[in-house]
Amino acid sequence: MPTVVLMDSSLSMTRPVSQEGSEEFQRKNLAVHGLTMLFEHMATNYKLEFTSLVAFSSLWELMVPFTRDYNTLQEALSNLEDYDKTCLESALHGVSNIVQQEWGSTCPCQVVLVTDGALGIGRGSLRHSLHTLKQRVEDKKFPLPFPFPAKMFIMCIANVEELQSTDAMDNLEQLIGLNGGEGQIFTMEGPLCLKSVQSMFGKLIDQAYTPFYAVLHCGNLASDVQVFPRPEPVLVDEEVDPIPKAVQTDLEIVGFIEIADISSPPVLSRHLVLPIAVNKEVDEVGAGTTEDAEEEPSANQMAGKSPNFCVLLHGSLKVEGMVALVQLGPEWYGMLYSQADSKKKSNLMMSLFEPGPEPLPWLGKISQLGPISDAAENPYGEDDSKSPFPLQPKNKRSYAQNVTVWIKANGLQTDVQKILRNARKLPEKTQTFYKELNRLRKAALAFGFWELLKGVAELLERECTLLPDSAHPDAAFQLSHAAQQLKLASTGDSQYSAFNHNITPLHTDFSGGGAGDRM
């Protein structure tokens, strides 16, 4: 989840903070201090997060495009200049643009707005923006809600009392409301000082930037992992009282499936699964190094050398072209697979399916998937030539069952022509002729299109008279038989117009000399 830091660089941020004794701070200094803390945290614990820095006043400027280089961010932060007044609306438009250009409109993002809560005056102020919310023309809409899923964290370098003395707090709350309630306002507690700004950013880190740790299990094999980006709780529709579903910290592998069988399934999100060495468990995992444990050569080196289940799993998934089905919680599943970033680098990835007992129609209910050893015979065949997947739906879809649609005239014309074409090749095409004839008959009966039956009967009778002398005698018999049957069906007489009745070829026997005359 990329982060945009939106830093207020208006003049009001340079207001000094009254502090006894020590050197004088500006609010801006406090903001920079807090952000430095955030960047440091991310550089160590959340280093794969992309972050960009946008400064704004009446204009906005992209100071640092999305990067994982926190030194660059830090540097830009310390070189921030001071500008004029606060104009949040245009800055939010800027954020919206930057994010969409980089990540499109489906990637969830976090926006960290750092401001002193002086939200501008007159035109361009947040108050003015919110006031005119309903009078916007189509192309000047307020940027919230963002077209992408976004969480908005507002870090106020001010305390609640100060914000509540004006309408700043109300306006900010309204802003969160416009974002669909996704987000939170953080304020400083007590005097404005380094300590309170630290505690405020500490809360943000706890809220939004704590790494997600879990244990990946495959029977008795296990590995401690970090899942990045951390999976966010998911709201399940359809439920009476929707409660966000969170991924469990124990990820249990259920079994394995071939990539061809799982077949590019739709997923909610993708995550890296990074094996980690939890300090106390190094001994357990890396049994081979117990003796050296006291010497502690370097935690990293050691972790690299002790076998880890994730690496084994990744290697085999990659070689075999398979995925592991993993349970994330009650009735919630995902898959683990090897994802190659380039030819050299590849990684263990986890994708989350939509929560529910049956995330993919072609796999069926996950709870009904069992080990192949339970089946009477190996459903994959002895030589892996078969597969029990995909499951077939009970009813075929229209495009898979040769339906008859005559809404456009050429649909009907094609069907009639098919019959006539085959009629001219009787008796060789007897089977196809009757197949097409019956298809037309069924549809005409269902649509109540008796006139068509009569018409086609006439056509067949005419074909009969047009038969060349060289024609097989059977052709004439079959044509007049078919024509007669269609006519009977068109009377609506239940004996002849039953939907499931099929016209069968007339039995003729020309080998014995006498013509078959069972008509």
Partner: protein, 716 residues
């Protein structure tokens, strides 16, 4: 109230007028005698046929249902049911809300039995009203899905919504007639809701949408005016569409089904297709598909007004919902180059239905997909870069439009797995774990299958994983037995939940085989890397091997009495009592190893593990084994174990009968095996044997040249 997805779409009641006036011709003529023109003179072409109003109404409503059933089949998110009712002097219900009745074939058969309206019937007795009343009653009836929802919600059952839509295809006489129909529906809803309030089997209608479609013949002037949706009461809203029969009606219902079910249209362009007449040329075709509009989410969102927007996000096609029912997003076909199966990052998959299902281009496309090929779809853009945004693919006879992620990934350039924990270890048992994964593949079982202990299929799958991993060393240099072909039969069997008598016998054979190998002093595939000199002595190697084998079997000893017997067999057969070995070893081994070995010795004496210890056992065992193997592998810079392939098997195994001395336990067993083996199918090797002496692993010699396998086992 957003409960259980029952929007209007959950229940749709079709009411089709079956009164005598519907038998009237639509006056849209269809020329079906096309071939005659090319056949010269003398042939009088057949007069064109025309569909009746009834035929037009039926085929368009069937098309509505076809699309609906294609895009929203059973059991998924939005469950859509159709109740089809025709009405003349009374109503005829052609199906029900039941799942089995929800298919076009069922409806076609039922329609055929009704037949076209009888023009001679007394028009005074006939009315579409009968059908409308029946439709309202039917909306009060509970569907399977609502029933289940009510049952699961129990105390909040009243929160299950009941909304529905009535689509009435009729030929009305005037606006007043239309108003009369509306009033009738409104009154019936009131009455039925009163009834339903006092019934467990009925649900009152909360909202009902009435869509009246007035159909009139081509060339006539309409007597009924169009009217957009109007609230008639708090429960009922109504709209009136006045449409000419024929293709106007078809496109009207096509628009309605898109509106009613949140559909959008995508046109696949540039589909190469062989010409029917000239097989060696190909032309490009377009095919239009309908699907849920969420497949266009990216386009809908980026088309939002945003005054700073730059770039070519707008290019992809615009789908503003208000104006855009006729609009379609165009995507370009990318001819698939390979049949490689790839795992794409897909953010959504939506079922499709071709607009023109039996046209040649449509059926070519769908057949191509149904045969198992996937097609990537590209956004046509003015400027340079190629963006693949969608994929068409079929799964089990259903075609889905997959939405692929086409923007920059937030996970780009991650650290490689080889840089992280365990990344520097090079001798993982990758091939073996691959084999393990194949054995633990999943397969669907029928609904509600529970085993004796009430576990579902997936719980059994997890239980199997647990059994198979009780002892599973991850790297080659941590194990001896899994590098030995000779152990495979036992290793495969012992993880089973239950063993047959024959399985036990196979395990015992494996053990005897090992005993035999030891007697002949065959080398073991123990890594010599890292140990000083030549590595452990042969007897030490066997001790390690036996210990490991015991660890494996002990991990399963709690499973059954037969598992226990395998362990007993090992304990009885393994070469020397550990104590004796200890004594021998003490002389030459380094002091620090002694403690561990003693521990092993003790463990070996344990006959069975208590159940409580069984689970934590493997890890501990593994640890011990690891410390054991550590002395072998743990050297400064030689991670690659050399002795991966067991060469021991190339020697012939002597038939035990020839061994000298008094009759050993082994001989007794072998005799018994020979006796019992006659009861079952004879081992192929034995059939081909000379003097009852079969050469085992005949191919090993041939393969000896290629020691490249990761371990000693033959790879698949």
């Amino acid at each position: 109230m957003k409960v259980t997805s029952s929007r209007f779409s959950h229940k749709t009641a079709f009411v089709v007028d079956h009164c005598p006036y519907m038998a009237e011709s639509s006056r849209q003529m269809v020329e079906c005698d096309m071939l005659t023109k090319s056949r010269g003179q003398g042939v009088i072409p057949l007069a064109p046929v025309s569909k009746s109003l009834w035929t037009c109404a039926v085929e368009c409503s069937m098309e509505y249902c076809r699309i609906l059933y294609d895009v929203y089949p059973t059991r998924k998110l939005v469950r859509s049911y159709v109740h089809y009712i025709v009405s003349d002097s009374e109503f005829h219900s052609l199906n029900s809300w039941r799942q089995e009745d929800q298919s076009t074939q069922e409806l076609m058969a039922a329609l055929a039995s009704v037949g076209p309206p009888n023009p001679r019937e007394d028009p005074e007795c006939c009315s579409v009203l009968h059908g409308l009343v029946a439709a309202v009653e039917s909306l009060c009836a509970i569907t399977q899905y609502q029933h289940e929802a009510r049952r699961t919600l129990m105390d909040v059952a009243d929160r299950v919504a009941n909304r529905g839509r009535i689509i009435c295809l009729t030929n009305a006489k005037s606006d007043t007639h239309v108003r009369m129909l509306e009033d009738c529906v409104s009154e019936t809803i009131q009455e039925q809701n009163k009834l339903a309030a006092g019934s467990d089997r009925l649900m009152p209608i909360q909202r009902c949408e009435l869509v009246l479609v007035h159909i009139y013949p081509q060339g006539d002037d309409t007597l009924v005016s169009d009217r957009s949706r109007k609230e008639l009461s708090s429960v009922l809203s109504s709209e009136v569409h006045s449409v000419r029969a024929g293709r106007h009606l078809a496109s009207k219902l096509n628009i309605l089904v898109q509106q009613h079910f949140d559909l959008a249209s995508t046109t696949i362009t540039n589909i190469p297709m062989k010409e029917e007449q000239h097989a060696n040329t190909s032309a490009n075709y377009d095919v239009e598909l309908l699907h849920h509009r969420d497949a266009h989410l990216e386009f809908i969102k980026s088309a939002q007004p945003c005054f700073l927007c730059t770039g070519d996000l707008h290019m992809a096609g615009s789908t503003s919902r208000d104006s855009g029912l006729k609009e379609t997003v165009t995507l370009k076909w990318c001819t698939p180059r390979t049949n490689n199966v790839e795992l794409h990052y897909c953010t959504g998959a939506y079922r499709i239905s071709p607009v023109d299902v039996n046209s040649r281009p449509s059926s070519c496309l769908t057949n191509f997909l149904l045969n198992g090929r996937s097609v990537l779809l590209e956004q046509p853009r003015k400027s340079g870069s190629k963006v693949i945004s969608h994929m068409l693919s079929s799964h089990g006879g259903e075609i889905f439009l997959h939405v692929l992620n086409s923007t920059r990934s937030t996970l780009e350039d991650p650290p490689s797995i080889s840089e992280g924990c365990g990344g520097r270890v090079t001798d993982y048992r990758i091939t073996d774990f691959g084999e393990f994964m194949r054995e633990n593949r999943l397969t669907p079982f029928s609904e509600g299958v529970l085993d004796a202990s009430g576990r579902t299929s997936s719980e059994r799958a997890k239980a199997q994983l647990e059994r198979h991993t009780r002892y599973w060393p991850m790297i080659i240099s941590q194990t001896t037995i899994f590098n030995m072909q000779a152990v495979v039969p036992l290793a495969n069997l012992i993880v089973k939940e239950s063993l047959s008598e024959e399985d036990v016998l196979t395990c015992q054979k494996t053990v005897f085989n090992l005993v035999d190998m030891e007697r002949k002093n065959d080398p073991l595939p123990i890594s010599t890397v890292g140990s000083r000199g030549k590595g452990p002595k042969r007897d030490e190697q066997y001790r390690i091997m036996w210990n490991e084998l015991e660890t494996l079997v002990k991990a399963h000893v709690g499973s059954s009495e037969r598992h226990q017997r395998v362990l007993e067999c090992i304990s009885a057969c393994r070469s020397k009592p550990p104590e004796e070995e200890e004594r021998k070893k003490r002389g030459r081994k380094r002091e620090d190893k002694e403690d561990k070995a003693e521990k092993n010795g003790k463990d070996a004496d344990e006959k069975a593990w208590p159940d409580s210890e069984r689970l934590k056992g493997p890890q501990e065992r593994e640890k011990e084994e690891q410390t054991e193997s550590e002395m072998i592998k743990d050297s400064p810079d030689s991670p690659e174990p050399l002795n991966k392939k067991p060469r021991l098997m190339s020697e012939e195994i002597q038939p035990p009968q020839k061994s000298k001395g008094p009759v050993s336990l082994l001989t007794m067993w072998t005799n018994r095996i020979t006796a019992t083996s006659r009861k079952h199918e004879v081992f192929a090797g034995r059939l081909n044997s000379v003097n009852n002496k079969a050469e085992l692993y005949q191919h090993l010699k041939e393969d000896n040249g290629m020691d490249l396998h990761e371990n000693g086992k033959a790879t698949r």
